[in-house]
Symmetry: C2
Subunit: 111 residues, 2 copies
DNA sequence: TTTATTTATCGTAATATTGCGATGAATAAA
DNA sequence: TTTATTCATCGCAATATTACGATAAATAAA
């Protein structure tokens, strides 16, 4: 019964932040996103070489990023061209900026 | 043998981003951080009432945030006053801002 | 000292995540 | 059509995370 997150107890925003943070919560996915930004076009094979993990593992990480909408993939022959979804990234950035910038609203310290 | 993250394959920065993202990857911890910013001083009991989870669960989430350095706790009698570590928060914000702002460096799109 | 209050830790149960070999599906090339 | 290439999916094994009851530890109050 446990190991399950009680998401119904939290706000939409809190769950959204947590879900996107999950996408960032693995170095392979961080590396994939950084590589996609760097190359500005990419196929899965490149990523398998770039990152030292097996092809099914990379494919799984790509699927998670795709499910969240952070990346999109276009089939090009036998390979798939993955890239950042700029619109989703922009709104994600905004969401996290607001969350991270909470300290600018706070004045004092207690301890 | 598996379920273990191969962190040795990634850069210090990639692992740091992933580890801090893990702290944000649960709505309860997002809620705790937001509450600490809002109140600007807090004890665990308040959080148990604020968030609808059992006291040991909240205590566990607080421990994770504390281990990462995002919050610190001062003992005050029988209760503990938890608050944001402003310095750690500032550097975390910087780290994520840089990561999230990668799109501003990119010009075109492929797909 | 005894009792109450508050938080931490232990132990356990259940789900989630990570990783990869084997295999399947889809397209391109021969 | 056969073969090669590339990526997705399945199935499994192992670790990680989440949640909480029970209990311990620490301090305050009586």
């Amino acid at each position: 019964m446990m190991g399950i997150t009680k998401s119904e107890k939290f706000s939409e925003e809190q769950n959204l932040i947590a879900n996107i943070a999950k996408a960032f919560a693995h170095p392979a996915r961080v590396a994939i996103l950084q590589h996609l930004f760097k190359i500005d076009a990419c196929i899965c094979g490149d990523l398998v070489n770039e990152i030292g993990l097996a092809q099914p593992t990379i494919s799984q990480h790509l699927k998670e990023l795709k499910n969240l909408g952070l990346i999109k993939g276009n089939v090009e022959g036998t390979s798939v061209c993955y890239c950042i979804d700029e619109e989703v990234w922009t709104s994600t950035k905004q969401l996290f900026m607001t969350f991270l910038d909470q300290d600018s609203m706070t004045k004092s310290q207690c301890c």
